[in-house]
Amino acid sequence: MSKKKIATVWLDGCSGCHMSFLDMDERLLALAGAADLVYSPLVDAKEFPPDVDVTLVEGAVSSEEDLRKINMIRERTKILVSLGDCAVTANVPGMRNPFGTKAVYDRAYRENVTFDPGVPDQVVPALLPTSRPVHEFVKVDIYIPGCPPSADNIYYAVTELLEGRTPDLTLKTRFGS
């Protein structure tokens, strides 16, 4: 049996879920034996491969770039996992939603800027009107709530998925845990 392919993606989040992923510590070695990490902020791959078995998504969908990415990733992934509260609920990124994007731009690029304030119209991808959970855009197969989910829960979920089982996380984690 060939090794499974895993990927992790970082959309609008604080990278805490990825830190938690790294917190699996020596269990990462066990995982590496069962699967290859083919795309991730933690590895050097530039292209998202076409046939990933399991993708863990950290972060909410907040910008046009996030949206483009998640659509592409969904197409290339068998099992899509929303990892952490931002992906599952929009969490902290979603806290901007009641205020509208203009308030966000102003705070980030005008009010707190001393040199050449102004909203960039290039390079920085445009914000979507609201920052929303991943499953409001694409089909999500597994949800791991938590802020961040513990390394134990990530390890449990990933190993179950690699074994071809559906992990049951219902009593193991919760929003905000």
């Binding site: 599952v88 609920t89 969490n91 902290v92 979603g94 806290m95 009641p98 996380l169 929003f175 845990s177």
Partner: protein, 239 residues
């Protein structure tokens, strides 16, 4: 009157239980260690039957009935946790999560919130209805307490404890439907309320992080509830 005459025997989830005739299904379930989810109900306050989480099935009855206000009857057969009921409960909780801005990770009540714990207990891992993201206010004008409307679920416990136990009736609800909101006095800021005694009971009964003590950070707001049954008991003593 002999106490025997007023005892009703019934079945809850297949177990033979008994209760006094004025007791509700929830009372009897609680006495027997059977858990029924609820958010508006609180022992010591009047019941309003509003959150609909405690709906149970009763054999021979078409309608689901709220356990908090339905009194026990002889021979009743109650089911408290069928898949259908839990499915409805999950949807009701999910609707609550979409209604305002419940961000558990930054909430003072994280880890001590009744809504959060119920969601976990009922196996909610995500909310499959779209979130509303309304713009809600935070009123920190009171010298000791804060109300964050983002986290309010309109359970009305604060209204009831203020009216029924403290006797101040500082809180009420304004507007209606999705626009309803708890207010103090004439929708003035809490800090300027003429009627509030600053007793803090509302804060302690609030099931979420909507009402909290100033100076508490994330996950630091633990609510003290022991005063309520104690107060109720002492009141009854004095009557």
């Amino acid at each position: 009157m002999s106490p025997v005459a007023t005892v009703k025997t019934l079945k809850i989830d297949g177990r033979d239980v008994s209760g006094r005739q004025e007791e509700t299904i929830l009372d009897v379930a609680r006495q027997n260690g059977i858990f029924i989810p609820r958010l508006c109900e609180m022992d010591g306050l009047s019941d309003v039957g509003a959150c609909r989480l405690c709906l149970v099935e009763i054999k021979g009855q078409n309608k689901l009935l709220p356990a908090c206000v339905t009194v026990v009857e002889e021979g009743m057969e109650v089911t408290t946790g069928s898949e259908r009921l839990n499915n409805y409960r999950r949807m009701i909780l999910e609707l609550l999560f979409t209604e305002r801005n419940h961000v558990c990770s930054v909430c003072v009540s994280n880890g001590h919130c009744e809504m959060q714990m119920l969601a976990q207990r009922l196996g909610i891992t995500h909310v499959h209805f779209p979130y509303r993201y309304p713009k809600e206010e935070v009123d920190a004008s009171h010298e000791r307490f804060v109300i964050d409307h983002n986290r309010c679920i309109l359970c009305t416990r604060c209204l009831r404890v203020c009216d029924e136990i403290e006797g101040a009736h500082t809180w009420d609800i304004m507007g209606r439907g999705i626009d309803a909101k708890v207010i103090t006095d004439l929708n003035e800021s809490w800090g300027t309320s003429e009627t509030c005694t600053s007793c803090g009971k509302c804060v302690q009964v609030c099931p979420t992080g909507a009402l909290f003590e100033k100076g508490r950070s994330v996950a630091e707001m633990m609510k003290r509830r022991q005063f309520l049954p104690y107060l109720t008991m002492m009141r009854e003593e004095n009557e």
